[in-house]
């Protein structure tokens, strides 16, 4: 049983953390191409002023809210990819998220599910209760098909009385023959046990890790709390292979700065604290930040932006070479896609495949069978 195989002493044990920015995050705000005049023309009210932006190179900067991420970039542990995205042209949140989480149009299961299945023979942790977890309320589509996957909810609310344990023992017998629910039940039971063990110890992050506090706002606190839970599991060597975290509500049709600024703050502060908290373990932990699509290049009438195509992706830690990666298509009309969108130059799967290759996959392309690979060095 995989749960028995704890990974103490195995320094090569790696963890992948996938942060999904739901709602279509505006890549042109996260990573403004302030060196492109077209950007300032398309967004007379919304463009990040060049003087305030955090410089990456001649063309690109980070939004001023992302200063922790800027430091990580300067340290060489954060890679930035622009004009990244999927083939989806529906510009529908659900279609685009679905396509991206499945990792292809014509494939079964989620991309993480397929990846874990492909690695099951090589990584003894896979299949363990806490090997694949969602920090959200439900399991992400990307985890579909995983050998196990658990929504790691408010742990403290679980009843671990002797009555509950007696009940659980009987439920184990009732659910075992159930075709639909047996696997989910086994996972729930094992999780209850493992979680109880972890609960017995309160987590103390490294003192220098500045996770969000109450003054930073609920959103930042929630995201930081998710990341610190992941850090706890990594440090406890609880067998964590992959964790999925959602940071939601990036759908900025209306006065977008009000919506985006606190989200960008939460993202940057959380990632900065997480990197600090992990210390040397960041070398074996990769965080990928992605969103279903970027947004229309031109701002709309309500100081927001509508659904678009190309957006930004980030890769933190885990041996990434860092740096800025983009064959920038420019923002002149002839370069734009459909109703005026940044085209997708870099397929998200070329970013993920590069990461999976560092996480033990000998053939990461097999996880994305309907995609001809054009690997990116991220």
């Amino acid at each position: 049983m995989a749960d028995a195989v704890l990974s103490a002493g195995q320094d090569i044990d790696r963890t992948l953390v996938v942060v999904f920015l739901r709602g279509g995050a505006d890549g042109l705000s996260l990573v403004p191409p302030v060196g492109d005049d077209g950007y300032h023309r398309a967004r007379p009210h919304l463009a990040v002023p060049t003087a305030k932006a955090l410089r990456l190179d001649e063309l690109f900067s980070l939004h001023p809210s992302l200063h922790e991420m800027h430091e990580l970039y300067q340290q060489g542990t954060l890679a930035v990819v622009h004009a990244a995205g999927s083939e989806d042209e529906s510009r529908s949140h659900f279609e685009a998220q679905d396509l991206m989480e499945h990792g292809g149009a014509d494939v079964a299961g989620g991309w993480i599910g397929r990846w874990l299945r492909s690695r099951q023979a090589d990584d003894a942790r896979i299949g363990g209760t806490l090997s694949a977890i969602s920090l959200g309320d439900e399991l992400q589509e990307s985890l579909r098909g995983s050998p196990t996957a658990t929504a790691l909810r408010a742990l403290a609310q679980l009843d671990r009385s002797s009555e509950a344990q007696l009940l659980h023992a009987q439920l184990a017998a009732l659910y075992r023959p159930d075709a639909l629910l047996a696997e989910a039940a086994a996972s729930a039971l094992a999780a209850a046990t493992r979680i109880a063990t972890l609960q017995a110890t309160a987590y103390q992050p490294r003192p220098s890790a500045r996770y969000a506090e109450r003054k930073d706002g609920d959103l930042a606190v929630a995201f930081s709390r998710d990341l610190s839970r992941v850090a706890q599991l990594i440090k406890a060597r609880a067998g964590l292979v992959v964790a999925c975290i959602d940071l939601g509500n990036w759908d900025s049709h209306f006065i977008q700065e009000q919506l985006l600024e606190p989200r960008m703050r939460a993202l940057s502060q959380g990632l900065g604290a997480f990197a600090n908290d992990l210390g040397e373990l960041l070398a074996s932990t990769t965080v990928v930040v992605m969103s279903e699509f970027g947004r229309r290049v031109r701002e709309n009438a309500s100081l927001g932006t509508d659904h678009g195509r190309g957006g930004a992706m980030f890769v933190l830690g885990g041996g990434t070479p860092g740096g800025m990666h983009c064959d920038w298509p420019g923002l002149h009309d002839s370069a734009l896609d459909g109703p005026g969108d940044l085209p997708v130059v870099h397929n998200y799967r070329d970013v993920l495949a590069a990461v999976l290759a560092r996480h033990g996959s000998r053939d990461p392309g097999s996880v994305f069978p309907d995609h001809p690979q054009r690997p990116l060095h991220v």
């Binding site: 007696l166 023992a169 999780a191 209850a192 309500s302």
Partner: protein, 493 residues
């Protein structure tokens, strides 16, 4: 239940269990059925059609529901037909007791503009409690099930903009009013609902202003989610043209006069010629453009298929048979979107009848979503409850708190999305059976007596007599009621 006990639970005498327990929950409980009569349960080893119908088309089988249904006609088959007919005319079912119980929630009946007088959290608490209590108490169960179906279909998350105030009116005047009415009426009510105008940014969709771009958020979801469906054959151009048709419709914010008033501002309407799904809209259509657009999309064949598929997924199977979808879509179209007629076709279809009549071993069943599970616990145990946060927090933990799904597609229906909730389902079962949820009370002893013993109570909850594995578990010393409510059979409908 004795009358003294009932008064105590109603809180009319100024004494209440919650107060005695020293908790801060409201000092009242709404009693369950208030009955103490015997009730019948299935007697076979296989699940039966009546139990399957009630599990699927209601929020759970209350003690006595089975008897009430069987009394409607001389054979179970005829009684099922009669029950469906009755449920499809909800006005014929007296629901005074339920409405009376809800009278304590002041906000529910307030005109839309008056809702701003309330604090947001009070509105959400009252609406959530009322939603749970209605699902638990109403005799118009199919209507309640459809209310939930449309609440997801026309999803509004109260955390956006002024939706916290306006959803109360949307729930009352859009969803509840039209849940079994005509789809075109429901769609129009939703399109011009103040809450929807906030939730999908319709209120800021206008021509001119800062630049020349309409806000296409609502227009997209109108086509993708509310009517044609994502593969319904529309294009990005159709979305943008539909947004132009809808431009100028707005709602007054709470900061000014006429708050929550829906208005058409002609100067913000793009009044040029448009073309949506191949239909030409002549220039100068003004406020009439929206009527043409909604009539066009409501009557589109893709809409009939989309709604039919979702209904069949809710009532037949996560992956419903194509024949049923075709039949239901056809009735939807031929009845011009009459929802009750469409449901009559669905519930009378060969696929639905085959499903409810199938033996347990052949029947996949559907996984109850967490809300359904929680309410079915209350109903099947005839619980008294104030549906306060101690109870509704379980919905939050299972990721199914009403009116709090962030994206416009609504809570998912299929089982796969909810498999990670088992641990919390078991926690809920055990807490309810052990009377450890403040503000919610059951009487396991009375329930057992009314059922006529432990075995009959098991059959009431499992939908059939327990099998050998279940019998062994029930004898194990674990709380039998908790075990039954947490069992795989009870998770299904």
């Amino acid at each position: 239940m004795s009358s003294t006990r009932r008064q105590l639970l109603q809180g009319g005498a100024g004494v209440c269990l919650a107060a005695l327990a020293g908790c801060s929950a409201p000092a009242w409980l709404v009693p369950g059925s208030g009955q103490d009569a015997r009730f019948s349960a299935p007697t076979g080893r296989d699940s039966d059609a009546v139990q399957n119908l009630l599990n699927r088309a209601t929020f759970g089988v209350r003690p006595g529901d089975r008897d009430d249904l069987l009394r409607l006609a001389s054979t179970p088959e005829q009684a099922i037909d009669a029950w469906i007919a009755q449920q499809l005319s909800p006005g014929s079912l007296d629901d005074d007791a339920c409405e009376h119980a809800l009278a304590r929630f002041d906000s529910l009946d307030q005109p839309v503009g008056e809702l701003y007088e309330y604090k947001e959290r009070v509105l959400l608490r009252e609406l959530t409690s009322a939603t749970v209590l209605r699902a638990a108490l109403s005799h118009r169960q199919l209507h309640e099930v459809m209310v939930h179906f449309w609440t997801d279909h026309f999803n509004i998350d109260i955390s956006k903009g002024e939706c916290a105030w306006l959803k109360v009116a949307d729930d009352r005047e859009v969803i509840r009013r039209h849940a079994l009415g005509r789809f075109p009426d429901l769609l129009r009510a939703s399109a011009l609902s103040p809450a929807m105008l906030w939730y999908l940014d319709g209120r800021v969709n206008r021509a001119g202003a800062i630049s020349e771009h309409a806000n296409e958020n609502y227009a997209r979801e109108l086509l993708e989610l509310h009517t044609l469906g994502v593969h319904g054959g529309y294009t990005q151009q159709d979305v943008m043209e539909a947004a132009r048709c809808l431009s100028g419709w707005t709602v007054r914010p709470k900061s000014g006069f006429l708050k929550a008033h829906v208005a058409f501002e002609a100067q913000r309407h793009d009044d040029g010629a448009k073309s949506v799904l191949g239909q030409r809209f002549a220039p100068g259509g003004g406020a009439h453009d929206i009527e043409l657009l909604l009539a066009l999309v409501a009557a589109h064949p893709a809409t009939a298929r989309h709604i039919a598929f979702k209904l069949c997924r809710r009532f037949i199977a996560d992956d419903p048979p194509a024949a049923a979808v075709d039949e239901v879509a056809s009735r939807f179209s031929s009845s011009n979107g009459d929802i009750a007629e469409t449901l009559r076709a669905l519930l009378g279809s060969a696929s639905f009848r085959a499903d409810i009549n199938a033996p347990t071993s052949m029947r996949a069943g559907k996984l109850k979503r967490p809300f359904h599970l929680l309410v079915s616990c209350l109903r099947s145990c005839d619980a008294s409850s104030n549906a306060s946060t101690a109870l509704t927090d379980y919905l939050t933990r299972m990721g199914h708190a009403p009116f709090q799904f962030p994206t416009p597609d609504g809570y998912p229906e299929a089982a796969s999305a909810w498999q990670g909730t088992l641990l919390w389902r078991w926690q809920l079962a055990s807490a309810l059976a052990g009377n450890r949820i403040p503000g919610t009370r059951i009487d396991p002893h009375l329930l057992r007596v009314r059922a006529g013993g432990e075995l009959a109570l098991s059959a009431h909850l499992l939908g059939r007599l327990p099998d050998a594995t279940e019998e062994a578990a029930l004898r194990s010393g674990a709380d039998p009621l908790a075990l039954l409510l947490a069992s795989p059979a009870f998770q299904r409908c």
